[in-house]
């Protein structure tokens, strides 16, 4: 069992989500940075979809039995009491009674704590650790790559609802992240200008879709996006760069480059 002493900021127990339900009105959900979530699982020897913790800081856990954990995603101030240090990307066995705290995030927007066996929320502050997966944990830690700030994009279905030159504007502008949530990342820069006005009947959204509300400041959709939306989508982030969007913290700058067929 893991006791959650403090849930902190935007923390949750998340799995890999449930693709294939958009036609029923439910987006994928699950880990916002799926790569970091899967990496944490791989390092502790779990199948990639098992549930673990996602947090934007101030998550405090107490372990009441020996448990292997691994921290990935955003670099954070990590402290351990009554146990060995837990480095980024290093699978570590915490003994019974150990306290793990993910403090302030230093770089990135979401930190993941993989737990060998996976997690299931039993009560508001009690998390059950699942059965041992049987597979070995990683024999060595993962290297941590520096955060990227460039997102490759494709033209969106409604690029033609904007004035000529909008694609070039997207590729030559620095966008500052205003806020990030499980729904999406809000960007600010000189606004996009519509050439076509009037209402767009709501249409399907994908993760990475860059929707432009009337004020002209785009929002890039993340794991909990609504399945349909009525603002025109000007561009779409390539799925390989969704993790860059997922880790873009408020105040950081993102740049966009044209994606190429692989």
């Amino acid at each position: 069992m893991i006791h959650v002493r403090s849930w902190g900021i935007a923390s949750a127990v998340v799995d890999a989500g449930h693709p294939g339900r958009a036609w029923l009105g439910q987006s994928r959900g699950g880990a916002v940075d799926r790569e970091a979530h899967a990496l944490a699982n791989r390092l502790v020897g779990n199948p990639p979809a098992l549930a673990g913790f996602e947090t934007s800081g101030a998550l405090a856990l107490t372990f009441d039995s020996a448990t292997m954990v691994c921290v990935t995603g955003a670099l954070a101030e990590v402290t351990v009491e009554h146990g060995p240090p837990v480095g980024w990307g290093q699978p570590t066995v915490l003994p019974s009674g150990a306290r793990l705290r993910i403090g302030r995030l230093l770089e990135g927007a979401r930190t993941y704590v993989g737990v060998r066996g996976g997690c299931e929320l039993l009560a508001p502050d009690a998390v059950q650790v699942g059965a041992d997966p049987g597979d070995p944990a990683a024999g060595q830690g993962a290297p941590r790559h520096p955060l990227r700030d460039v997102v490759r994009v494709w033209p969106g279905p409604r690029l033609d609802w904007f004035v000529p030159g909008t694609w070039e504007q997207l590729l030559t502008t620095e966008f500052t992240v205003g806020a990030t949530s499980r729904v999406g990342v809000r960007l600010s820069a000189p606004p996009f200008v519509r050439s076509r006005h009037g209402e767009l009947p709501s249409e399907g959204l994908v993760e990475g879709a860059m929707q432009v509300p009337p004020a002209g400041h785009p929002i890039i959709m993340l794991a909990d996006h609504p399945v349909t939306g009525g603002y025109p989508v000007v561009a779409v982030a390539d799925p390989v760069d969704l993790a860059v969007v997922a880790q873009a913290a408020a105040g950081t700058v993102l740049r966009f480059r044209p994606a190429e067929r692989r």
Binding site: R21, A22, W23, P157, S202, G204, L205, P226, T228
Partner: protein, 200 residues
């Protein structure tokens, strides 16, 4: 049908009418096109999400264009037992020139089809509402619509799967479970399902 680009893993097919959308979505879903992972109908579009094995040339419009198709949910009609005691029955009657009893008779006498889902998990937009009940949605949404609320707006009927804010007009309520994570599929009313409301 116009195909609009939507990145490397999706394409958006745009149509002139909801009937064409429903026909195409049912057709593509039934066809089981190789590489397609999602078929998401909306008001005028069908979003096709796919993997790298998908061939865009396989995405042809169904024969017969916008002709009505037998929906893939036609095998079973879902009947929603409804208490017609909605807070807006009187308002709907006043704005349609009907009596509340007429409103109930029209609403429960129609056969509906789920055109698409959206707004929240399991919220189905039903077509088949008698035109006499077409009313624009509220100018100011209600801050709290209860779970199970049976409602109408524009040309649609629907049921709120859970409590939420909402801009539709309330005609009644049901105890039917619209969304259950442990059911497959979790939605009671997937696109294509035939639906009737039965007064209780």
């Amino acid at each position: 049908m116009r195909l609009l680009p939507y990145g490397p893993c999706a394409v958006l097919a745009e149509f002139d009418s909801l009937a064409e959308v429903m026909a195409a979505a049912a057709w593509w879903r039934a066809a089981g096109l190789p590489g397609v992972v999602e078929v998401v109908p909306a008001a005028r579009t069908v979003l096709i999400c796919h993997d790298e094995t998908f061939d865009r040339a396989s995405l042809t419009a169904p024969a017969g264009g916008g002709a009505p198709v037998v929906s893939d949910g036609a095998a079973a009609t879902v009947v929603i037992d409804t208490d017609y005691d909605g807070a807006d029955l009187g308002w709907i009657a006043a704005h349609t020139g009907l009596s509340p009893a007429d409103v109930i008779e029209l609403h429960s006498g129609a056969t509906y089809t789920v055109a698409f889902c959206g707004f929240m998990p399991g919220f189905a937009y039903l077509v088949g509402l008698p035109p006499a009940l077409y009313l624009p949605r509220r100018a100011t949404p209600l801050t709290r619509v209860p779970a199970g609320a049976v409602a109408i707006a524009d040309e649609f009927a629907g049921v709120y799967p859970r409590e939420s804010p909402g801009g539709w007009h309330l005609v009644g309520r049901t105890t039917a479970v619209l969304w259950d994570d442990h059911r497959e599929p979790p939605a009671l009313l997937p696109p294509g399902t035939t639906v009737r409301f039965r007064p209780r």
